[in-house]
């Protein structure tokens, strides 16, 4: 594999479960290195795509090369160099944390002593050393998830699939997972990360693909996606709520477009990508005696991006329910 070759190159992937077309022609190019965000609501096909690319599920149609190997004919070569941490902690609950890592280490070919040493190293790095001798069924959700990720790193993979690694985690555990991802990327691992959290994709991913109903509907850097949706917006807060209808008229006249009245009675916003117009509008407000207590120019949020791209808002399921029948 040359440095220029992408980590993943998929074209026309189709997978149907009965009547459901879970993947409806997925084309994807994931460059080597960095974090690639894979974004979409529940049931959009994220998990199915990951399971196909991780050689767990055969596509009905389409081709893919992963780490330079053919997905179907060279699945074993791919498995030797990639790891997958699924949506559910795929560790043995009856075994201890340490035993889980030793088990996987030995399956990779380490001796018992080497596997134990590597396991201890990882448990330490993942803040699980104290729980090493406890059965996993006594672990909290965050601990399980960390152990699950540790289990994927016994040998650092060239490609790591993380399927919703932070769904249902508290903020501290989420930060820990983010830090782990950053360390891995620095070491040269390509990470494909699925998430329902737009903020997560925005913060971690170098590039993002948005999947909806089994198709990729947008692809690019988070910045490109935002600008493809068009303008940002100016949010204005008034000193007196009673002047909002007057402010609305002025903003509509100077900036144009649909003025949006916020839930708070003293706030309103309007889409605009032109800072000069915004400046002019603020001057007009001041001339008309409408006192402004604050204003802010903002890029569209990933939520707005998502709404614009798919035509429906993100449905976040806190429990991380099964995405599809896979």
């Amino acid at each position: 594999m040359t440095a220029a070759e992408p980590a993943i190159e998929a074209s026309g992937l189709v997978k149907t479960f009965g009547e459901t077309r879970a993947l409806d022609g997925v084309d994807l190019v994931v460059p080597t290195g960095g974090v690639y965000g894979f974004l979409g609501p529940n049931g959009a096909g994220k998990t199915t795509t990951v399971r196909v690319l991780a050689t767990l599920l055969q596509p009905d149609a389409g081709t893919a090369r992963v780490l330079g190997h053919d997905l179907i004919r060279e699945a074993d070569e791919i498995r030797a160099r990639m790891s997958l941490t699924g949506q559910y902690a795929s560790v043995d609950e009856q075994l201890t944390g340490s035993e889980n890592l030793v088990l996987l280490g030995r399956l990779l070919g380490f001796t018992k002593a080497e596997a134990a040493e590597r396991g201890a190293q990882l448990l330490d790095a993942f803040d699980l050393a104290d729980a090493a001798g406890r059965q996993v069924k006594t672990y909290s959700g965050g601990m399980r998830r960390r152990l699950d990720i540790a289990a994927s790193l016994i040998v650092t993979p060239d490609l790591l699939f993380l399927d919703e690694p932070t769904t249902g985690l508290d903020p501290r555990s989420r930060n820990q997972v983010w830090e782990i991802i950053r360390s891995l990327v620095e070491a040269g691992t390509t990470v494909l990360l699925t998430t329902q959290y737009l903020e997560e994709a925005d913060r971690l991913a170098d590039r993002v693909a948005v999947i909806d109903r089994g198709r990729i509907v947008a692809e690019g850097t988070p910045g490109e996606l935002k600008s493809s949706v068009g303008s940002g917006a100016v949010h204005v807060r008034l000193a007196e709520a009673g002047q909002r209808s007057e402010a609305e008229r002025i903003l509509a006249r100077v900036i144009g477009g649909q003025v949006h009245l916020a839930a708070e009675p003293d706030a309103l916003s309007v889409a605009s990508s032109d800072p000069e117009r915004v400046g002019a509008a603020l001057v007009e407000l001041s001339r008309a005696g409408v006192a402004v207590s604050g204003y802010r120019l903002a890029e569209p949020s990933m939520d707005e991006v998502f709404l614009a791209l798919t035509g429906h808002p993100v449905e976040v399921d806190e429990k991380g329910a099964e995405e599809d029948a896979a």
């Binding site: 050689t55 699924g86 830090e179 950053r182 070491a187």
Partner: protein, 279 residues
Amino acid sequence: MTSSTTATDADRPAGAALITRTRPKRPGALATSWTFAWRALLKIKHDPDQLYSSFILPIMFTLVFTFLFGGALAGSTGDYLQFLMPGILVMTVIMINMYTGISLNTDITKGIFDRFRGLSIWRPGILAGALLGDVLRYAIALVVVTVLGVLLGFRPAGGVLGVLGAFLFLQLFAFCLGWMWNAAGLVLKSPESVNQLSSMVLFPLVFASNVFVLPDTMPGWLAAVVNANPITHAVTTVRGLTAGDLTSGQLLGGLVACAALLVIFAPLSMYLFRAKSLR
């Protein structure tokens, strides 16, 4: 590593410790199977209750059939016990055997099966290793049930060697029959449905065999069913071994039953294993 304003030192894993690209040589078929067997042994260590519960049914059947029906069936409870115990030993391994399917199905539903499938390993080792790990389970259960039988008056004419031979044969039989439960574990939706299927299949199979009575007094069609039942041939072989009068024909019958189970269900299991990637 780049510092993040949101993470405290405790939040930050020791980045360097995470990275190692030294990849040892891929282990062979035996090493892989042995590692999965080790996993099965760890489960016995952590969860011995399942082991204890597997004795209860065979012990209950021994007591009920010996003391309640034994006199009527064989003239005296003592005579019936000599006849019954080899069958109870077969029943013992069969009852433990179905846990193979339940464990496999639990692995699939809980997700760890996907982790194993995502590794570059000798795949049959996942299934074969679990069966090997059960060897200890069977050995313990067989000793416990045999000791109970001896206490009640079971006196195998084949002596210690005959009993050990029977244990050996039963380990082989259990390994072969285990593939049936592997297949069931791969097909069914949940561990509970494997459990339900096992009670639906096992009780008829055990009763429609020669565990409790010989088929001589049964109607012809039922005798035919009993004689086609692999459990019947296993019981006949174990009876011969413990009594010390095993004929080569009986041994052959037992071995053919084992071979038939293996030849049908091992390839079927591996086919179903591969088909997992299609659904």
